[in-house]
Each structure stands twice: as structure tokens, then as C-alpha cells.
């Protein structure tokens, strides 16, 4: 009895790959796209955003009978591989997608520490890869096969300066940043440079720092409040913002504050108990007050999954659509290697793409030229669209 059972199981195991393989082969008109995303680990929400956005696209296109490439309809097959938010898993996921699953292109990893090593694998194996959310310059640097759907870290500081200049018309700014965080430090430095380029040297009247574990910011804020600064730039993560802003108000700061895309968490308003209302920050997209295709995406997503998609979801939606657009532009020959190169060339050749996170074109490095969005935290605590800007 036991032996018979074992035999059945063994037979099943032996047959399984053939069955799966046969399934893959039986329908010839399939476009396979791989997703290298964190579905477990520290931030599964990030991978979930990408997967849900992709599912929306897949259902819509497959519902219409498939994607039309060169007069023929192809069904979409999306393969989601979990990278657990680990660099080594992201590398093995990339290998699996390229060699075993034989995908045409890869979407993800979302975050830079995973996208940089996985991008190397994709580039070495001549497979196009697009990261929805990786803002680090190194992800695409010298890698013709690697693209991204979001702007780079250094991009938003000049945008913030430009916005502040036109919105508030002030000349003196104060900056407060996290000394132990590269992101915050880089943005603070760039903001200072751009601000002084417009308003002259010495127009940044306070340039204060704090440490990752600090809880009391009174001295720095005392200095800032006592200076003649008319604006505070705060490129900090939302939990620090929630501590700093109320303390600043206690010390008599009543002028505007601007932030960066690290403000964009649903927890920002909750943790600061509304102290950030009326302030502005730069980010990738704004859910409240969205129009057209963006609104359509948000509504579909919200209806299906029960929450408003965040930056990653929206950027993933664009990333997948850019890949599909490139496939349509390039056409398919059936030769996987040639098709991958053709898709890469088609992505580089995209001159204008109307994404839900703004219009974009690609530089030869694979980085999009697109608008940053300035949002305002409105009285309801929502992130409301204010302006589309380029530096």
C-alpha cells in the first residue's frame, strides 16, 4: 500500500515538470514577463503594490483577448518571484526568471539595494529590466538593459526649490536633515546648492543636522526659529517629520515647511496628529485629486483591493505598461534572445510615454525624464495634487 502510494507520488513528481512545460508550450502565443518583487520579508506591502498593479493590467488585457503585437493577439503570463527583500534572493530570482522561466523582460526589484545587483544580472544576460521605484543612480548606470520608471534621488531637491521660489516667494531658507541617512543628506546638500544658485550665497541661513536615534530636536529648532529663515526644508522620513514638526511649532516656528517623497506615508498625518497639515512635499504621484487615467487606476485598484495604491503601485503600473508598449513597438520574432534586445532598443526609443505618474521619456542611461509632483497635505489629511514640475 505504502509502496504503491510512493510510486504514485514519484510518478506525479516526475510528470509535473512535463505537464507544466506542456502547458507552456501548448499555447504558443504567450508573452511572459517576470516580476522580481518582495512578497515576504520586511516590507511585503511593496511587492504587493507591484503585483496588484500588474494583475489589473493582466486582467484587462487578457479580458480583451490579449495584447496585439504585429497583428496577432498574445495572452499575458506574469510570473511573480519573491525576493524576500534580500539582495541575494533578488539575484537568484533574476537568474530563475531569465534562464528557467525564459521571460521576455523583468519588472522589479522595487527597491535600490535589490535592484542594483539584480540589474547587473539582467544586463549581463541581455534581458531588459525595469525597476518601478529604485531611485539610486547606480541601478541604471552603464547598464543599457536596465531602466526605471521613477525619477532619481537628486531630482526632487531642485524641484522643491523651484516650487518654493514660485509659491512662497521667499529668499531665506533653513534646512534640517538626518546626518546618518544618505538620502536625507544628499537632498539637503542639493537643496542648499539650488537655493543658493537662485537666491545668492548665504541665503540658506541655517543648515542643521540630527542623528538617527535623536528624540529631542529643540536646539536645532531653536536656532532655526531664531534665524530669519522663511522656509524650512525637511528631507526626513515620515516618523522623524512627525516628531520634528510639532517641536518646531512649540518653539515658535510658524512659517512653511517643505519635504521630500519620504513624507509620503499614510502614517505621516496620524503620527504628527495633523501638525503637517498645510505643508508641501515632492513625490511621484498624488492620489487625492487625481484625474483621467490616474484616477481610473486608483478607483479600479481601490475597488479590487480595498485601499488607495501608493507610489509603488502607480509606478509599477507604468513600468509594466512601458514594457508592453516596447513589446508592441519591437514586434516578436519568436527568437527569445533577439526579442529581448529588440525590446531593449524599443524602450530606449520611447520618446514620450503618458504614464499615470506623469509623462516620461528615457535618457540613454534608461532613466525617465518626467515631472515630479508637488502635493499638499490638505485639511482632511490627504495628499492633494498641487503641481507638476521639472527642475
Amino acid at each position: 500500500m505504502r509502496k504503491a502510494l510512493l510510486a504514485v507520488v514519484a510518478a506525479a513528481l516526475l510528470l509535473m515538470p512535463t505537464v507544466l512545460f506542456a502547458n507552456g508550450q501548448s499555447d504558443e502565443k504567450v508573452i511572459k514577463i517576470g516580476f522580481n518583487i518582495p512578497l515576504t520579508g520586511d516590507s511585503p506591502k511593496v511587492g504587493e503594490g507591484t503585483k496588484f498593479a500588474a494583475e489589473i493590467i493582466k486582467e484587462q488585457i487578457n479580458g480583451e483577448g490579449g495584447l496585439e503585437v504585429g497583428g496577432e493577439k498574445y495572452m499575458l503570463d506574469f510570473i511573480y518571484v519573491d525576493n524576500e527583500l534580500k539582495a541575494e534572493s533578488a539575484v537568484s530570482a533574476a537568474y530563475k526568471l531569465i534562464e528557467q522561466d525564459q521571460v521576455l523582460a523583468i519588472v522589479g526589484p522595487d527597491t535600490s539595494s535589490r535592484a542594483i545587483p539584480a540589474g547587473q544580472v539582467a544586463n549581463d544576460n541581455r534581458t531588459p529590466l525595469i525597476s518601478p521605484w529604485s531611485t539610486n543612480p547606480n541601478t541604471t548606470l552603464d547598464r543599457p538593459f536596465v531602466f526605471r520608471a521613477c525619477f532619481l534621488d537628486p531630482f526632487q531637491a531642485p524641484v522643491a526649490v523651484k516650487f518654493a521660489d514660485s509659491e512662497f516667494g521667499v529668499e531665506k531658507a533653513a534646512i534640517m536633515y538626518n546626518l546618518e541617512d544618505d538620502y536625507s543628506k544628499t537632498l539637503a546638500g542639493l537643496f542648499k546648492d539650488s537655493w543658493e544658485a537662485i537666491n545668492g550665497p548665504g541665503s540658506v541661513v541655517a543648515f542643521e543636522s540630527y542623528g538617527q536615534k535623536d528624540q529631542d530636536f529643540s536646539v536645532q529648532l531653536t536656532k532655526i526659529a531664531a534665524s530669519d529663515a522663511e522656509l524650512l526644508y525637511l528631507p526626513s522620513f515620515y516618523n522623524k517629520v512627525a516628531m520634528i514638526v510639532p517641536q518646531a511649532k512649540d518653539l515658535g516656528w510658524d512659517k512653511p515647511v517643505m519635504g521630500s517623497d519620504s513624507w509620503g506615508s499614510a502614517d505621516l498625518v496620524k503620527l504628527s496628529e495633523g501638525a503637517v497639515k498645510g505643508y508641501y512635499f515632492t513625490t511621484h504621484y498624488a492620489a487625492a485629486g487625481a484625474k483621467g487615467a490616474t484616477k481610473e487606476f486608483i478607483d479600479t485598484y481601490n475597488a479590487k483591493y480595498g485601499y488607495v495604491p501608493d507610489d509603488v503601485g502607480a509606478l509599477s503600473f507604468d513600468a509594466v505598461n512601458i514594457v508592453l508598449q516596447a513589446i508592441q513597438d519591437a514586434g516578436l520574432t519568436g527568437d527569445l534572445k533577439a526579442d529581448r534586445v529588440a525590446i531593449k532598443d524599443a524602450m530606449t526609443a520611447i520618446t514620450s510615454y503618458p504614464g499615470i505618474t506623469g509623462n516620461m521619456t528615457f535618457t540613454p542611461e534608461g532613466d525617465p525624464i518626467k515631472d515630479a509632483v508637488v502635493v499638499k497635505v490638505n485639511d482632511a489629511g490627504e495628499f492633494e495634487f498641487v503641481a507638476n514640475l521639472q527642475p
Binding site: Q215, S218, V219, Q220, A225, Q247, D250, G252
Partner: protein
């Protein structure tokens, strides 16, 4: 310039108040048991969370009650809850070791481990996301001579001074205080005099934990974003402050906390914030090398 100086003076008084209140807790337990209770910073963290849940419950269920009453009730219940935690730790971790006559090193290591258990237990139960401490009553900002003060800031400073005064009174002018000092003097002779050793130790833990509770509530009100690791660094620094003041002497712990608070604030006022700990601890090191027993410490063992 003068107003900035004055503002920083108040900033330092507030920040030092927290170090002082936590340092007093270290000092009490050390004075009586000769035990460095490294879990104290995390007891303080737990007090913040107790206060968070108690205050949230009151605000949710007794809406309409005046803020100061909710504040008072929260204070009392948090003190009870934190004392319970302190006593529980004493019972399950320190007392068995003491009974077996374990070396002090093992007790200190146990305390350190307990701190990690509290932090990670909290992380496991409540998750990693930060929590916002509720406002129990409105924050009022007073402005005078270019200085901004909030009613919270004033309450913190006044409470720290009152807590110290009360503790000083208990330790120096009551019978149980006398017993505490006696235990500190000679733990082995005391039971022979008919003084119930364990009851004194229990009382000491209640006092220390209650102080952590007071500090926890006020900290939550002043810096209202809570996370499970918030007590670690401030606890260690308060311990150093207690040593500089002369550990075992409550005047020393109180003063040490304010000294550390002032040094940190002054350093940040003139240097980049990354120099804060560097300069602050170099100064403390120099103080200790000149006076190894701290400001109020005495070489004899008549501490507390």
C-alpha cells in the same frame, strides 16, 4: 542672542529632567541592592506604552472629562502598572538569583537580557510601527522675550523637581527611608535587626518604577512618537549621568541628569549634531577621571 541662550536653557532643563528622573530610578535600585538595573531604560519604555494605552482608553471612554483629571488618572494607573512590571521582574529574575547567592555579575547580565526581552517582546506583540501618544490636554505655547515655552515643558521641569524633593523626603526623613539606607549600609546585618529585607527591596522597586512611569508619561507627552527601542539609549545615558553624579546618592543622580542634559544641548548649539555624544562623553570621562566617585559619591558605602 540672549533669547536664544534663554531658550536653550529651558530646552536643557526639559531634556535634563528626563535624564534625571530615569537616573533616580537607577540610583535607588543600585543604592539598596548594589544592582545596576540595566532593564530600567526599558521599564521606562514600557511605562510610555502603558501610559499610551491607559490614556487612549480614558480619552475613548471618558470623553468630556477635563484633561487634567485624565492626566491624573493616567499618571496613577501607569504608576501602578509600571510598579507591577518592576515587581514582576524583581520576583522572577532578581530574587531567585539573590536567594542562590549568585555573583553580582550574573544579576547585571540578567538585567541586560531583561531589557532586550522587554524591547523585543514589545516588538513581537505590538509590531514595528510607531505609535502616536495622545494629547491629554491642549498644548499652550507661551511667548515672552523671544522665548517659547509650552505648558508641557513647564510641567516636565516642575514634576522632575517635585519628584526629586519627594524622594529626598522619603529616603532621608521616613522610617522606611531609614531602612533603605540601612540595607544599603549592610545587607546582612539588617535582617538580624528585624527589618524585613524583601519588603524594603519591594518598596524600592515600586519607587523606582513609579519614577520611570512619571518620566514615561511626560516623555510621551513631550516626544509623542513611541517605538520599542526608545528607552535603550536614553536609559544608558541616564545611567552614565547617575554614575557621574555619584551613583547611590539621589542628589548626585538628579544633578548628573541635568549636567548631561545641559552638555548635550550646549554642544549641539555650537557644533554639528554628530559631535554631541562625542563631546558630551569626553567631558563626562574627564569628570570621572578627576573624581572617580562622581560629584556626590563617597568612597564609603553609606550610599543612598
Amino acid at each position: 542672542m540672549f533669547s536664544t541662550l534663554l531658550q536653550n536653557l529651558f530646552n536643557a532643563l526639559q531634556w535634563g529632567s528626563f535624564y534625571s528622573m530615569i537616573a533616580l530610578g537607577y540610583c535607588l535600585v543600585y543604592g539598596v541592592l548594589r544592582l545596576i538595573n540595566f532593564a530600567h531604560g526599558d521599564i521606562f519604555m514600557m511605562a510610555c506604552y502603558f501610559a499610551f494605552f491607559i490614556a487612549s482608553w480614558f480619552l475613548g471612554n471618558l470623553a468630556g472629562m477635563p484633561g487634567p483629571i485624565i492626566f491624573g488618572l493616567t499618571m496613577i494607573l501607569t504608576m501602578v502598572a509600571t510598579s507591577g512590571l518592576g515587581l514582576f521582574i524583581e520576583r522572577v529574575a532578581y530574587r531567585p538569583l539573590r536567594k542562590k547567592g549568585a555573583h553580582r555579575l550574573y544579576v547585571v547580565i540578567t538585567a541586560l537580557m531583561l531589557g532586550f526581552i522587554l524591547e523585543n517582546g514589545n516588538l513581537a506583540v505590538l509590531g514595528a510601527s510607531s505609535r502616536r501618544f495622545p494629547d491629554m490636554f491642549g498644548k499652550i505655547v507661551f511667548q515672552f522675550a523671544g522665548v517659547s515655552l509650552t505648558n508641557y515643558k513647564i510641567i516636565v521641569i516642575v514634576t522632575a523637581v517635585l519628584a526629586f524633593a519627594l524622594l529626598n523626603l522619603i529616603v532621608n526623613s521616613t522610617k522606611i527611608g531609614m531602612a533603605m539606607r540601612a540595607v544599603s549600609y549592610d545587607k546582612f546585618a539588617i535582617p538580624l535587626m528585624g527589618i524585613p529585607l524583601n519588603r524594603i527591596i519591594t518598596f524600592t522597586f515600586i519607587l523606582g518604577s513609579s519614577l520611570a512611569a512619571v518620566a514615561g508619561i511626560l516623555f510621551g507627552m513631550s516626544y509623542p512618537v513611541l517605538d520599542p527601542y526608545m528607552g535603550m539609549i536614553i536609559g544608558w545615558k541616564a545611567f552614565i549621568a547617575a554614575v557621574v553624579g555619584g551613583i547611590g546618592d539621589i542628589k548626585g543622580a538628579f544633578l548628573g541628569g541635568f549636567i548631561l542634559g545641559f552638555i548635550e544641548i550646549i554642544v549641539v548649539a555650537f557644533f554639528p549634531s554628530s559631535y554631541k555624544d562625542l563631546i558630551a562623553f569626553v567631558i563626562l570621562l574627564v569628570i570621572l577621571s578627576v573624581k572617580p566617585t562622581g560629584f556626590f559619591g563617597v568612597a564609603k558605602s553609606t550610599k543612598i
